[in-house]
Symmetry: C2
Amino acid sequence: MIKVSVLYPNTPGSRFDVDYYTSVHMPMSVRLLGSALKDVSVEIGIGSAVLGDPAPFAAIAGFTCESVEAFTAAFMPVADQLQRDIPKYTDIAPIFQISELKEI
Amino acid sequence: MIKVSVLYPNTPGSRFDVDYYTSVHMPMSVRLLGSALKDVSVEIGIGSAVLGDPAPFAAIAGFTCESVEAFTAAFMPVADQLQRDIPKYTDIAPIFQISELKEI
């Protein structure tokens, strides 16, 4: 299994609308990716290693799929629609990470 | 529920021993954190948004607990032991992120 993580660095002065992201954008992502999506996670940053310091990331979304090919096949047809939605909740340029999920 | 993510930025020239991390360090982390740990994930970076580009992070570990307090109570007594193990698999300084997990 692979996981595509979309990380939003918590840059000073940036804008991130948690309500829109969790109630509109992420449900839309799940619906558009359809059955290719085996699991999804939504993390909203609340802190760091040092008490009182801001979280390094405003948010991290995780999309788990069987393979990179399965993700790509589901994502490419809806990529424009999803990316056009991003300015509605943030001005942060997200970081994309593709990972292999390891069982331990 | 909260998730503590430990992210290892994939800096050029850095060292990261995936075998040691997945077969020794992460199982030790799970054992030491004990029943406070409700879920764990291990992601090993394989790519980015652009085909052929390196993954932004060599690895991302995720520790899910009921609360920040539950994580802290389990982690503090074993923090030294876990942190002393880090140089055995990497010279990367990890980033710590504390997040609230959202259901969508």
